[in-house]
């Protein structure tokens, strides 16, 4: 089993946190996992993205030229990466910031209203965790409990943040698929 996941969005949307939390969870579930962020000052304030490879054997390359799953947190990143999505793959997009989804019939498309849900939970900044919850639900590889533990590990010091994140994660998990 090898799952290649690309999470993309704009700088402030916390896409790297999503990747880190999920990657850390994959580790806790004893998977082989690699996390590769986009880096460098090359595109300031532009899009940020990261690649996760989760597998039950050593991961050869942490790069995903053709990911099996794409998470797009806004319109520009959707545009930038959808063409690279593997046929038969899945796309999760932020329904609140994406208004046109290009035609691709060979992949499954799921819109997730992460900003709205986040707002309803009282913190739009946790929108990324809503998306992560939906993602976990969809992938069915990593246990939601492990993801909670992962959040605990990574944000433990910041109690409030951890709590709201978990709430958001749960909401995304329960709500998926949103219709």
């Amino acid at each position: 089993m090898l799952l290649k996941l690309l999470i993309a969005g704009s700088g402030g949307q916390g896409v790297l946190t999503m990747g880190n939390v999920l990657g850390n969870a994959a580790m806790l579930d004893d998977y082989f996992v690699t996390f590769l962020p986009s880096y460098g000052a090359a595109m300031r304030g532009g899009t940020a993205n990261c690649t996760l490879c989760i597998s039950d054997e050593e991961v050869a390359s942490p790069v995903a030229s053709t990911p099996d799953m794409l998470v797009a947190m806004n319109q520009p990143s959707l545009m930038a990466f959808i063409s690279r999505l593997e046929a038969g793959g899945q796309l999760l997009y932020n329904a609140d910031l994406v208004d046109d989804v290009p035609e691709r019939h060979d992949v499954d498309l799921f819109g997730v209203p992460v900003n709205r849900v986040g707002r309803e939970l009282g913190s739009e900044r946790a929108a990324n965790m809503v998306m992560l919850g939906a993602l976990v639900k969809m992938t069915k590889i990593i246990k939601i409990e492990t993801v909670f533990k992962s959040i605990e590990m990574m944000m433990g010091s910041k109690k409030k943040l951890a709590e709201s994140s978990m709430k958001a994660l749960q909401a995304g998990y329960d709500g998926f698929p949103f219709s």
Binding site: A41, R44, G45
Partner: protein
Amino acid sequence: MKIKNPWPKYYKKDVVTHYCPGCGHGIVHRIVAEVLEELDLGKRTICVNPAGCAVLAYLYFDFDVIESAHGRGTAIATGVKRSRPDLFVFTYQGDGDLSAIGTAETIHSANRGENITVIFINNAVYGMTGGQLAPTTLINMKTTTTPLGRDPKYDGYPLHITDVVAQFPGVVYAERVACDGPAGIRKTKKAITNAFQTQVDGLGYSIVEVLSPCPTNWKMTPVDSFKWVTETMMKEFPTGVLTDKRSKKK
């Protein structure tokens, strides 16, 4: 319907810069282009780009540009100017580039009184590499390599390199200005005009230090960054003319 701000002739049109919102580089870029146009220098200009956030400035400037290894701008400018004294040569450098790794080149090009101009963008951090300590970082200011704030005991004090070179006989014009609002931006343009004219008149080395906002690494809004320049940065780095030997040299 007449446009009141026609496009600067030596600035590329319809190019989106890679700079963060509210970054001072964009403002100073435009000013440089405007002054080169007003002094009619664009056609015979060679600019030396730094390694720093402005490393890609050649994508925006519409005059000849050569890139430099980090910190070596004034050495390259020396080579250009000495081989082609008829050209107008200026470097565009950040504080890390000019006052850390480039210290020796800065000091000695200034001491030789090279007839070049240096545009020195002081944003008190290493912008491009993600906000590390710069020689110009203020005391107690947090950076990614001074997580508890700059501690003079370990990290030394804010370095006033422009004040240093201003004392050299070969440095004809040196001014510190602030990109902190309309007034400061106007002063910046005036200073750059004086500096460029100094070279045109063949008088020698000129340098303009611009206190410039880096909202991203300062973790402030652009508007707050402007305020921070005025209220905090200028306390350590007062603006003003640091030397003006133009009359003497004429």
